[in-house]
């Protein structure tokens, strides 16, 4: 809220500079977010929190200053001279939506531009001056926080006011010349025939005060915040009035504000004032809030004296009665936020000063910290990925659903079951991610466009899938992408990037001590966006947990990415928790040396390294300790459709040193077996 320094001074005689005032307000809960100097005045921009609608006015802020500084508040009494007959005829049909409706008539006003002091003051607070009558209502709104509305009496059919809901009325044109769609339960102000205002929000064009206006009906009311808020939202219109009504105005201030406005109109625009009509069937009953005195100190951790508490509360217009250990506190009508003891303790803390509250550490019992396995797993994954040379990215959780078409994802795929955002700001925020891949592709494209190369990224984030429950299923997914830069390879790193990423997965699984994993290749690609010959699924314990592969060149084209791109996904990392063996068991180191023999075979290209290795390992012998592939070769002199695989086989016995003869005889069994089962030729 904007508040003029000079205007505030009219109500509290403080001696602070604008900067000092700003600091004092900020430190008591009214953050001054900006200050602007205007012709010998300073306009403070004050952040009034939603619990303090009473401070949405100059007098409200002045009252707060008076409490903070302990200086009295001076408000001059309003004096008006009633000259002309009875007040307007008003009927409130929905008294629970409009708890008070006060009004007066002013006959014979001269509508004209406002005097300079008035229009200047409005303009310095960001309000456009229109004409004297309207400007006065805005002035009083700012000064006293009470929204008012002036109707052109001669356009009010029957000269009367009826307060009731819209009912079957479908549309209403507000004075900004917009047609507003009405809902049945929206509260309107009517004359004898038609709606004339959207209650508490904006008046109608049909009864607007204009230069021809001579007779005015002035309204000052209390509209129920619970009705104003949905109505303002429903018609998508927030005004200075609706903002205050939605937060709650001071019901005891209604008539005072009306009279203040009437007084100013009579002074500036002339006219004869009618008597008051005030429909106020259920007058405000003050609340009495009990506060146990001891609780003030025990909650805040201070030792405050009762006299200090009393001074603070009375400076805020809260009256106190002591009954034993309990203070009975009655807040004024403008403090509807004060309803419970805690609200009063907060007021005490606020004016006592947070800086005077000591700094202590809580007295607590020790106890073991529970383990959060999910969090530990995520941390382990992130650390493992970064050790494998991948850099972490974090992307927004939304994506553009069209991306699934670009990725060629079939219509019956579960990633198509999207959780949609009802109010996205752009298409990129329209759906919650069901896969991390599109974001990673965007990351690669952005970096390539900026001239960056050798991109190795991973992300661990949630994806969202519909579930039987009210809330969707949130799965933690891991995805990585690698755009290998083949051109810059000082040390001859020319192998397919697929194997770099495969190595990263294997490292991760080893880090987690998961051993029962496999990379299983099918005749087709594991994912619709992958290269059919360079992709496979990753299984743990026979269950697919993810996929790895080269992105299909067509897909890369659609995403405007050049070069070669590999990626992997682990669909739901929590599945890994089932396979992690948290127990580490020591195995004694061997006491006898091993013997190593190499075997190089030429086999058909279809035979996988894993297949050949399995043939060796399947031989029934307990002296084969390990088999490792150390070379793959295709090309001359190996015939086409064939490849050479070279394995190193390590033999060892646990209880004695092997002899050459023992090794040689087993080795020749292996060679025979490879010849028979894989149709392998030995390479010499």
């Amino acid at each position: 809220m904007k508040a003029s320094f000079n205007w505030l001074k009219e109500f509290v005689d403080f001696k602070l500079s604008p900067e000092e005032l700003a600091h004092a307000l900020t430190m008591s809960g009214f953050e001054v977010e900006g200050m602007e100097e205007i012709e010998g005045d300073a306009i403070l921009d004050i952040n009034v929190t939603p619990n303090r609608p009473d401070c949405l006015s100059i007098i409200g802020i002045a009252r707060e200053i008076s409490a903070i500084l302990g200086i009295p508040l001076n408000i001059k009494p309003v004096e008006i001279r009633e000259q002309e007959g009875r007040g307007p005829e008003v009927e409130v049909k929905d008294p629970h939506l409009c708890q008070r409706y006060a009004s007066r008539l002013i006959h014979g006003v001269k509508v004209a531009p406002s005097p300079e002091w008035l229009s200047k003051r409005l303009e310095s607070h960001g309000v456009k001056a229109i004409c004297n009558v309207v400007d006065v209502t805005n002035y009083v709104l700012m000064e006293m926080g009470q929204p008012l509305h002036a109707f052109d009496l001669d356009n009010l059919a029957g000269g009367k006011i009826i307060v009731k809901t819209a009912g079957t009325e479908k549309s209403f044109r507000t004075l900004d010349n917009e047609d507003r769609n009405l809902k049945e339960d929206m509260l309107l102000i009517w004359d004898a025939e038609k709606p004339v205002a959207l209650a508490g929000i904006m008046g109608g064009l049909n009864t607007e005060v204009s230069s021809e206006t001579v007779n005015v009906l002035l309204e000052s009311a209390y509209f129920n915040p619970a009705s104003i808020r949905p109505t303002a939202k429903g018609v998508n219109l927030t005004t200075e009035s609706s903002y205050r009504f939605a937060r709650g105005v001071d019901i005891n201030n209604i008539a005072k504000a009306l009279d203040r406005a009437v007084q100013l109109i009579a002074e500036i625009a002339g006219g004869r004032i009618s008597q008051l009509t005030d429909i106020y069937p259920e007058p405000y009953v003050p609340l009495q809030v009990p506060v146990i005195f001891k609780k003030i100190n025990s909650l805040l951790g201070i030792q405050i004296e009762e006299t200090v508490v009393q001074n603070i509360l009375s400076s805020l217009d809260l009256s106190i009665k002591r009954e034993g250990d309990v203070l009975l506190v009655t807040p004024p009508s403008f403090r509807q936020d004060i309803q419970r003891d805690i609200d009063i303790i907060e007021e005490i803390a606020r004016l006592y000063g947070y800086d005077k509250i000591p700094v202590t550490l809580p007295n607590i019992k020790m106890r073991p910290a529970p383990v959060n396995k999910r969090q530990d797993l995520i941390r382990a994954i992130k650390n493992s990925m970064s050790r494998s040379g991948l850099t972490e990215v974090i992307n927004y959780s939304f994506f553009n659903p069209d991306t699934l078409d670009k990725l060629n994802v079939p219509f019956d795929d579960k990633r198509r079951n999207l959780i949609l955002v009802k109010n996205p700001l752009k298409k990129e925020e329209a759906a919650m991610r069901t896969t991390l891949l599109p974001s990673l592709l965007n990351n690669v494209r952005l970096n390539l466009n900026r001239g960056e190369k050798a991109l190795r990224f991973f992300e661990v984030s949630k994806v969202f899938l519909p579930s039987e429950d009210k809330l969707p299923y949130e799965a933690i997914q891991l995805a990585a992408i690698y755009n290998k830069d083949m051109s810059a390879s000082l040390y001859g790193d020319k192998h397919d990037g697929f194997y770099d990423l495969k190595g990263a997965i294997e490292n991760l699984l080893r880090d987690l001590i998961i051993t029962n994993y496999r990379f299983e290749q099918d005749s087709t690609s594991v994912e619709p966006y992958m290269h059919p010959g360079k992709s496979c699924s990753v299984t743990v314990g026979g269950e697919p947990i993810g996929s790895i592969g080269t992105i299909h060149p067509r897909i890369l084209e659609l995403f405007d990415i050049t070069g070669n791109l590999n990626m992997f996904e682990i669909y739901n990392v929590e599945k890994l928790l089932e396979h992690i063996s948290f127990k580490k068991t020591f195995i004694s180191l061997p006491k006898f040396p091993y013997v190593e023999r190499d075997v190089a075979i030429i086999v058909s290209k279809d035979i996988s390294a894993e297949q050949a290795q399995a043939e060796i390992l399947n031989i029934d012998s307990d002296i084969i300790e390990s088999v490792s592939l150390f070379d793959i070769y295709t090309g001359k002199p190996i015939p086409e459709n064939k490849k050479s695989l070279a394995f190193s086989i390590r033999y060892r016995m646990v209880d004695k040193t092997l002899t050459d003869e023992e090794v040689d005889s087993l080795h020749s069994v292996i060679v025979e077996r490879l010849k028979n089962t894989l149709n392998a030729e030995m390479r010499s």
Binding site: N395, L471, E474
Partner: protein
């Protein structure tokens, strides 16, 4: 006789010391100590020495042999090393060629800052808890004393999935979930992603927060000040000053906004702190009794405090990052700075 041996010894020494290569040393070895060597000849002729002199003569002869052997050995070693060095010199490499390193992957700055903050609070005995990112309106708003149509809902622009399901606007949504499933004492932190649909270009629709809260009998507002001071001092250094200002959050009362002395200008005034010397860093307060009631706790029995902070904000201050949008654009040149 003796002189004869001594002159052999001297001659040998002279020749060895003059030698210029391993080859010459090897030749000298043959000349003196070989099968037909000068000294070997003398040893062979030992039998012809009269009995009474033989012992003494033998001793001197042996001494001379050892002397020459040692000397030859020393020179041989010297020449060996020199030869090897000559060979090694030809194997010289260019040490200025870049090393062959395993590329280093980085963790996102948000992760790094979050990890640091989590470490601090777990060291103070707080547990890490989580809640869903897509949350019921109840836990995000209602249970936190923000019923439908409450004006405080305007403070946060909310993405809706349906009328009663939202993208959580803060990690405070975890509070009542945890309270419902546990009994005090509670010391909990809840880190995670939160969402706001703000159209302002300088705002981002997703960011990270960390919520912390503590519930027990006799927790005071002074304890809140103490815990946050420890935390701020651990993140920004013990010289950092804290300032608690009254504020408003529906789920805490009293509520506070916490400023720290500007980490850039140390309070003197700069662009980052808009010349105030202070930076807003945390929101906090004593848990509102209404929240306890929502969780089924007796507000007369338990008290507690809660606080929340934006992780990107902490990271920006820690690293001097001036644009929050850089965080989730994922430019490699940005990510690799941390």
């Amino acid at each position: 006789m003796l002189n004869d041996i001594l002159s052999i010894k001297n001659l040998a020494r002279e020749e060895i010391e003059k030698a210029e290569s391993l080859k010459e040393i090897q030749d000298l070895k043959v000349k003196y100590l070989g099968k037909k060597g000068i000294l070997t000849g003398k040893i062979k002729s030992l039998g012809s020495i009269p009995q009474e002199d033989r012992r003494e003569y033998g001793r001197i002869l042996n001494e001379a042999k050892i002397y020459i052997e040692d000397l030859l050995g020393k020179y041989e070693e010297t020449f060996n090393t020199a030869e090897l060095n000559k060979i090694l010199q030809t194997q010289r490499i260019d040490v200025t060629v870049p090393g062959c390193y395993i590329p280093i992957g980085r963790l996102h700055p948000t992760t790094q800052v979050l990890d640091e903050i989590i470490k601090i609070f777990t060291s103070l005995g707080f547990n890490v808890e989580e809640g869903p990112e897509i949350e019921l309106d109840f836990y995000n708003f209602e249970a936190l004393n923000m019923p439908k149509n409450h004006p405080a809902r305007d403070m946060q622009d909310t993405f809706y999935i349906s009328d009663d399901v939202v993208l959580r606007t803060h990690t405070s949504s975890v509070q009542v979930r945890v309270m419902q499933n546990n009994v005090p004492p509670l010391r909990v932190i809840a880190p995670g992603k939160v969402y706001r649909c703000d159209a302002d270009v300088t705002h981002i629709p997703m960011f990270h927060q960390l919520e912390g809260f503590m519930v027990d009998k006799n927790i005071t507002m002074s304890d809140l000040k103490g815990v946050l001071e420890v935390f701020i001092h651990m993140v920004f250094g013990v010289d950092t000053k804290l300032r608690f200002r009254p504020s408003f959050f529906p789920f805490t009362e009293p509520s506070a906004e916490i400023d720290i002395s500007c980490v850039i200008c140390k309070g003197a005034g700069c662009n980052v702190c808009k010349n105030t010397g202070w930076l807003e860093i945390l929101g906090a307060g004593m848990i509102n009794p209404r929240v306890f009631e929502m969780a089924g706790y007796d507000p007369e029995e338990y008290t507690g405090f809660a606080f929340g902070m934006g992780i990107e904000r902490v990271a920006m201050l820690k690293y001097g990052i001036d644009d929050i949008r850089l965080f989730y654009e994922n430019d490699k040149r940005f990510l690799e700075q941390f």
